[in-house]
Symmetry: C2
Subunit: 703 residues, 2 copies
């Protein structure tokens, strides 16, 4: 089989085999066309490759580029505060890590010309970023100079992230392509919610999440600190809250101050949530008097809607909340504070005669009316501490004071209704990261879609939105892969113009953003890999990696129903080793569409992919035979190579233009129907396009 | 090409191609025979698969096994201290994470029978593990019960690590195979040295390193805290030490106390090193009066042997050291303290007339004599603080008080000489992790080899040894892959009987230990992968991974010479993305030996491997064309496929028993000679076996 010539011989079978092995090895590259784009050189003649995420408002590409080398220096003008100077040092540190080029971290001496100048018009309050602060900037790069200009320090920080994303490999070095960029956010409130209540999130998770947020210009960390499963913040006024409600897992006040400062240094506000009157079991362990039923209470291991609720008819409740929220108001400088307000089922209220009597005396017929009374009282307490109240959309009612901000998780109509009733609104409904919404679905969901039934003044009430990462089914080692990279697609929705709706281009840039986020220290890629390694018990298993690339976790509700996980469940199964909306989901759709248009390169790529599934399946089965955790997914393992065979056969029929035998389409459809059933906590991400392929192969007259 | 049958068609070329693709996909599995062994079931009939590291003294395998399930409980008897009960909770936590089986973390109620009983004869001082404490244990497992017995709590901790390593997959669950184990360490001092002086190591690195040490039964963290490049510990008595000597990167006293407590909880002693009289530049920035030349001094960015040295003739030096070491003695409860003593070049002493006068007055002819005077004074100071002095082997001299412990880095003769002069000794010379010694080389190097020129009493002076991770060329993201898994092989040398010298079996177990260490949170595997990802700029690149698997970093001295890295160098090149002694190094040797013995399976595996190099090279070149950092290794990239072709040709000649054409061997040898040249900071790990293969192919009469 080996030729005697110095070059590796090329008889026909060997060439074919070599081609196919080479292709198999290069599969990730072949498929990952978006990532390949990163490798494309910025070409002065042909314009440049846009790898920015989020997209800026205006970008004009120009000929030429600025080469990055050791002599790259910077100067700050206008705002000489700590935030900006530290931000500049971080920028250079990160540039250095990416490029391997050592850079001088201190500003260029006075009078010496610098390659990068950062001009800021006015100094601002660094410790407390504020809602609505000007975040705009302009960035001009030519062959000799980078000029970043902003009205505020925060705007300059946003521009630095853009500049960092612009650094591109070019030949043996790195360049900044020449551009003119004018940029500003579409919405002022661009948040991410973290829920350490259900599964505690150690500080490193919080910090690296803030790094990721800053990279994609998100500007609010919504910190859901109290839950039925954990009270996660130290209270010195009521120490039994964290002492008895947290299993010892809580943030100290000093840690909270550190997090708030870290966020502020990145232009990120921190809005804490203290969920009430429901989701409050852990308050009552140490302070049962707050509750509407006598207790005793303990940390809940089960998730879901529990009955425990504060007693809204007892003045002592409001005294307690006044003192507690007052203490918290000192810790969190932001002007907004979130009181939750969701999923209060009213059961304890209906079962308590005193509460029933209170309702009767005040003419309240339903528990939501009582909750509105409670909300109104809490709103006044917060106002007394100079905080504006935010709550989930259950709090929306005609009697609610219009000062309350509504965070919408039930559907767009709540946002519209809230705005019409004079409430500021935040949209979260389509951005729940515990669901398997694809990045494209999240990206295309708009807080303020064209044609929304709102006057221009009402539309201004929509502040933006938040992606929400609820904690039931995530732990520190998996949370990054659930948040990212999809939250980057959401971030673009919140920042970039409404007209930015090209999901294909978004996916191209998202693949690049994924590797950038991983470089920032997030574990969106390495987390699932590490879990796969544990499942396989070996350093690396290609068959498992290939299998995993075709799967995603089932949706939150499906996992809840199928597995019924509690706080004590161990999260180390196949579902915890795969990612939502993995790159193959979009790539496969694009390849199938290409193949159906007759693109022969796409057909070849699909063929290699299908072959790889068929060929790797025996190795996967061997692995699973002695990997107890992999044995849990027998149906998906046995279906996988069948999907490969299905695809190969479909391609064969498409190519030959000959009809498949009778019954072929029916048997494939039956197989697909079986494959789509949600079980084993994972689901294939290739089924819909495969069905398209099968249908096209069964109708040869189409081409 | 696609058969109509439901099964994927199998015409000949397709079958051939499919076979080869399957093989390519399964390559890591095919090659990683050691890791495969982990998948082998413990079979009561055939004995069991030993995956322990280090090997115990006595292991008797028995029929049967204990199945791990939710009902697994434990009970502690004898020692009810915090250390043991927390150790048991950690054991169950880790078991849970590996197996996905939720376990009850609190001990079984009194009177109820537990699956695991841990008996400890005597309670001990938990806060301060001591040199020579009894670490022995016995472990008995039958189908119903695990019994762990130890004289001390530390012995029980060691036994828990063994128990954890015994947990094995079996069908759809996990079991502990039935065994009787009696175990105790060969040497009482089994250390690992970390050097945050040259590159600061943040606390997470220290903590995860301690986790890895505990897993393989290492019991001393030697913490090299002061260097020319950084003074890394807070001193309240002399605050200018850390304030001016650390760039702000130092451990606070509270952090040190936390680390010491964390280590003690795992039965690990912490021995700090304060290097003197040389390697002390950073002491003199704030306190220039200590030095032998006036200064001024600044943090050194350059590595190597510097001239700065304390003035051993000034009584103020000893006053200072007494106060400083007294402060440190309070922080570190261990009975030993390390004073360095290495690489003091004497230049400042020879240049200082007062010091020269002092030497003359005291009859000293050489600077080493002056250093012995200094060491003797410091030894008395340490004794005053109840600390026994440890120093590098430069301190060895006839006049040195015999209380001083000698750590040997220059060669075994220093260990022997030290023991003969009555000094306790530690062996480190073969265990320098910044060198590219293979795991086998380290494993086979014995602190007390058979036939050592020592009496039995002198032999007892050899306390053990330490693996040393000097800090010049490592940063937090690469250090794990430099320490591990090789330090596990060293740990086995220090713990297991001298007769344990089967390097092949060690490598089999080391591959398993690598994945276990990664599961503990170390980044020995994921660190290099993350760096490869950054080099490629894509999520994963198979060609780069394959290329990297054939490479290792060049030795410390070669990198120093070729790159001259300083503290300001960015460590993000190909050399930082590959691992020393990667698995392929040993596997390839084994495969070539097998092939040369005529093993056809090994020949086939080699053929696939060589094909994969040839086939992946074009993809690697395409990647490198736009990856500036990969462009730095053009020679290795162009040589790589040639090595594959060389291997394929050699196999072809071996198989056909036909002689290669004239000049073939010469041209291959020339290519190998070129390939071995150390440049581009990386080196191939396959060259010596390849040369063997070429030689065998050139001498067909052999078979």
């Amino acid at each position: 089989m080996i030729d005697r010539s110095p070059q590796f011989g090329c008889r026909n079978p060997a060439r074919l085999a070599a081609l196919r092995i080479a292709a198999a090895l290069a599969l990730p590259l072949l498929l990952a066309s978006p990532a390949c784009a990163q490798q494309t050189l910025p070409d002065a003649a042909n314009g440049f490759v846009n790898t920015l995420m989020p997209l800026p408002v205006t970008l004009v590409s120009k000929p030429g580029s600025l080469r990055l080398d050791h002599s790259f220096t910077y100067a700050l003008r206008g705002d000489s505060g700590e935030r900006l100077s530290q931000g500049a040092v971080r920028l250079l540190d990160r540039l250095e890590t990416r490029t391997g080029i050592s850079l001088v971290k201190s500003p260029a001496p006075q009078g010496q010309e610098a390659a990068l100048t950062i001009d800021v018009l006015a100094a601002s309050d660094e410790a407390t970023p504020k809602l609505g602060e000007d975040e705009s900037y302009t960035l001009d790069i030519d062959e000799h100079h980078v000029s970043l200009r902003a009205k505020t320090g925060i705007g300059a920080l946003r521009g630095m992230e853009t500049l960092l994303q612009l650094a591109q490999p070019a030949g043996s070095g790195f360049v900044f392509p020449a551009v003119h960029i004018e940029d500003a956010p579409r919405f002022p409130w661009r948040g991410l919610m973290l829920d350490p209540g259900r599964h505690f999130l150690p500080l490193p998770v919080i910090y690296r999440t803030l790094d990721g947020m800053a990279a994609v210009k998100l500007n609010v960390l919504h910190w859901h600190l109290t839950e039925d499963q954990g009270f996660r913040i130290e209270s010195r006024v009521f120490p039994k809250l964290h002492e008895q409600g947290s299993d010892g897992l809580y943030y100290t006040q000093q840690q909270v101050r550190d997090v708030v400062a870290y966020a502020a240094a990145r232009g990120i506000r921190v809005v804490p949530e203290f969920d009430m009157p429901g989701h409050s079991t852990t308050w009552f362990i140490g302070y049962p008097g707050l509750a509407s039923a006598p207790g005793p209470y303990s940390v809940s291991r089960e998730f879901g809607v529990l009955d425990a609720a504060m007693d809204p008819t007892d003045e002592a409740t409001y005294d307690f909340l006044d003192k507690f929220l007052g203490e918290m108001a000192q810790l969190f400088p932001d002007a907004y504070m979130h009181i939750g307000g969701d999923e209060s089922n009213g059961k304890q209220w209906r079962a308590n005669p005193q509460i029933q009597a209170f309702m009767a005396a005040h003419g309240m017929k339903t528990t939501p009316e009582l909750q509105t009374y409670f909300n109104t009282r809490v709103q006044k307490i917060l106002a007394g501490h100079h905080k504006q109240m935010v709550g989930w959309d259950e709090i929306l009612s005609p009697a609610l004071p219009s000062e309350a901000v509504i965070q919408v998780w039930h559907g767009a109509e709540f946002l519209v209704n809230g705005a019409k009733q004079g409430h500021l609104g935040l949209y979260s409904h389509p951005y729940y990261l515990d669901h398997t919404y694809s990045a494209a679905q999240m990206f295309l969901a708009d807080p303020l879609p064209a044609g929304a039934d709102l006057t221009p003044d009402q539309a201004k009430m929509i502040l933006g939105g938040e992606a929400c990462m609820w904690g039931e089914q995530v732990i520190p080692s998996t949370i990054d892969s659930r948040i990212w990279p999809r939250a980057a697609a959401v971030a673009e929705r919140f920042w970039s113009p409404a007209a930015d709706r090209d999901a294909d281009d978004m996916y191209r840039r998202l693949a690049i953003e994924s590797t950038r986020l991983e470089a920032e220290g997030l574990t969106l890629l390495s987390g699932p890999e590490a879990r796969q390694r544990q499942l396989a018990g070996t350093e690396q298993d290609q068959a498992l990696a290939l299998f995993a690339s075709t799967l995603q976790p089932v949706d939150f509700h499906v996992r809840s129903r199928e597995q019924h996980p509690t706080q004590l469940t161990v999260f180390d199964r196949l579902v915890d080793a795969v990612r939502p909306d993995p790159p193959l989901q979009h790539e496969f759709t694009v390849l199938v569409d290409g193949a159906l248009r007759g693109n022969s390169a796409d057909m070849r790529r699909l063929e290699l992919l299908f072959h790889s599934w068929v060929d790797a399946a025996p190795a996967l089965d061997r692995l699973a035979a002695n990997s107890p955790l992999l044995q849990e997914a027998p149906a998906h393992r046995s279906t996988w190579p069948k999907l490969g065979t299905m695809g190969l056969e479909a391609l064969s029929y498409l190519r030959s233009d000959s009809a498949p035998p009778a019954g072929w389409q029916e048997s494939q459809t039956a197989l697909l129907k079986e494959a789509v059933k949600p079980h084993e906590l994972v689901e294939f991400v290739v089924l819909a396009p495969l069905e398209k392929l099968v249908a096209a192969a069964s109708a040869p007259q189409v081409h």
